[in-house]
Symmetry: C2
Subunit: 398 residues, 2 copies
């Protein structure tokens, strides 16, 4: 049996790469950029006043000097200085006229009345160096400068930046087409009244919710019993996708048909079983560029295997970098007896610092297992006991 790290490496090295598509900017937030982005002009595009106040020359400034001014300049306007113009009133966001290199904020000005039809002002400030209260043209970005690379996730600041740069169309990773199959004779639809020995299909809901983080809506969700020909049909149809995710039917029982059916449909097994708990029976294979995951049937196992394995695939497919889990201290102790790497649900709690605390459960079949958890912490296979305060790897759900 392989370790979870080995499994993730196999997943990443098998992964297909999504196509590049061009979309209107407003559809790209949260997606993955697939082109290099250069600055279309300098940013700021002009010497911008960062305060409401007065623009003037820093050279020859004196607190005693009285300045005349007539004109005022607002954001969205521009003018050139006139011969002999000593100062102007200027508003935040306006371009400082060429020839001036200092803005003094209005709070530091002292009105001196009017003389010869011109307003008079002096200034009580020591902040008079060249370019004080001015954002200098090009100080953030120069025309042509490379600012974003392929494989960048379009977060809010990047989305805003792309708007500033006028990128009304943007090239992104096309989302994968995902199909879901829930297997098991014991599974009924959520609108049905189950017989005492039946349970409702919750796993397709878990998977749907976990896909939502990437903006993916599943193409189809089907439910099939443990019947070889029905399962073959479902898999055949399911293989019209980039990622097919099954739940149930991968453990040792003699009705666990999923691996057999997948192989009969030409899906090549890459691994079956990983040294983890929960989720040990997890199956992964590829058919050409199509990935297939066989997740175990327990609700919490599905959530763990998706978070650790399916997400690794999705990230690689979308050209995102490999995830690096956080490292946070654990509150309390935790023992385990097996030789498996355990992924267990934890909450973030604010003590002297932010710590992880365990969400106690009755195992991977407990339908409450992850409900108030913020993510998963890891106890590696060879770690018999976690000490209070020890640092653990943490995978947040979101």
């Amino acid at each position: 049996m392989i370790s979870s790290q080995e499994a993730i490496k196999l997943i990443e090295s098998s992964a297909a790469k999504s196509e590049i598509i061009s979309v209107p900017l407003e559809h790209s937030s949260g997606k993955v950029l697939r082109e290099k982005i250069l600055a279309d002009r300098d940013y700021p595009p002009f010497n911008r006043a960062t305060m409401d106040g007065f623009a003037l020359r820093s050279q020859g400034f004196s607190k005693e000097r009285i300045y005349s001014y007539e004109r005022e300049l607002h954001a969205g306007e521009s003018f050139s200085l006139k011969e002999g113009e000593e100062a102007i009133r200027i508003m935040t966001g306006a371009p400082v006229p060429s020839g001036f290199d200092l803005v003094i904020k209005v709070e530091d000005s002292v009105d001196q009345g009017i003389s010869e039809g011109k307003k008079q002002v002096r200034f009580e400030t020591d902040k008079t160096s060249s370019f004080a209260n001015i954002a200098i043209q090009g100080e953030d970005l120069k025309t042509g400068e490379e600012i974003l690379l392929e494989g960048t996730e379009i977060n809010t600041a990047i989305f805003s930046l792309l708007a500033s740069l006028g990128r009304s169309q943007v090239q992104i990773s096309k989302l994968p087409k995902v199909r879901i199959i829930s297997t098991g004779n014991e599974i009924v639809g959520i609108e049905e009244i189950p017989k005492p020995w039946q349970i409702r299909d919750s796993n397709s809901y878990s998977i749907r919710s976990l896909l939502q983080k990437y903006g993916i809506v599943p193409e189809s969700i089907v439910r099939v019993g443990d019947d070889i020909s029905l399962l073959e049909n479902a898999v055949q149809q399911g293989l019209d996708s980039d990622i097919l995710i099954l739940s149930g039917g991968v453990s040792m029982g003699n009705l666990d048909l999923v691996p057999k059916v997948l192989q009969s449909k030409g899906v090549q097994e890459i691994f079956h079983k990983v040294r983890i708990k929960p989720g040990k029976p997890v199956w992964f294979g590829m058919k050409g560029k199509q990935a297939v995951f066989g997740l175990p049937g327990n609700p919490f196992s599905v959530q763990v295997c998706f978070r650790i394995f399916v997400e690794s695939y999705i990230r690689k497919f979308l050209c995102l970098p490999t995830e690096s889990p956080l490292l946070l201290p654990f509150l309390g102790e935790r023992k385990k007896k097996n030789q498996l790497t355990e992924f267990f649900p934890v909450r973030l709690e604010r003590k002297q610092t932010t710590v992880l605390t365990e969400n106690k459960t009755n195992g991977s079949g407990d339908i409450r297992a992850g409900i108030f958890s913020d993510g998963l912490a890891v106890q590696f296979s060879d770690k018999e006991k976690i000490q209070d305060g020890e640092l653990l790897e943490f995978y947040p759900w979101n």
Copy 2:
């Protein structure tokens, strides 16, 4: 001027409460639950085998004893024991028949051939206590037990739980209707070529992206120059919403019309200016149950004010609990000279533990300010210097 904590308290105490709506379960992931949820039956609903193996009685077990068995039981099936039946083959997920209280996994069984037409088996295991390898009926939840309260965010595990409980319809908080107005004569659309002293409208994109975290799509986005009658019209139309968000036009410049126009339209000011950087000129008011935010015009100020103030409102509106920021160590030192609380962009970096590192910027007008940041860290007003390793409050973007 009030502090950011005071501002958040005022926002929360002013907030209207969203309506309750009933939606199909599949539309509820990530939303806020607005009903109490009870277990519809016991969970597990039966004594469930958690391993593939053999079911038998724990009483009288012995490693030497040879057991006869004939029948096998799969998940999704049920039967009663026959007179004298000693053991059955059982698969993971199947209901353990009444009368048996032990499951021994198949790996611990030793085949003993066939005798008198019945298969024979014995067991090499010490795990033979009553209910070993069985999830007991009701051990996770009892019928009628309260499991979820109003105001719970429907994360993946809860979504899955609601499916298990057969909640095909669920009551959630209706999302707010949000309208956005970008103001400023210097602002042009993203598809336009700006004149040298103009900039493109990036703020409405920031706000759109930040709303996406809550699944909110803005009802309308309009752009208006600094013209009192145009702005009055836009505000009049914008007030047909739960939350109206403006950017620009709230600082001291004499064209900063937003507060005046809002008040003329009957929006009552609750605060104007908060002791923070960036975002000091932020304005907040209410008209009946409608909230109005006037955010400053700089791109990074918009992102900070939304994350700290608008999100506080949205959370309260949706009946989510007040956010508690994480507390994480800061790598490096940081000084400030002003008496403001500073929110600055940081990245999570994995060192011996996960630490915050500062994203250096040229201030709130820098269009690159937040681009590779994971969230905001806080340097409180009275804190002149942050020491290396000091714990800071951290607000992740997501």
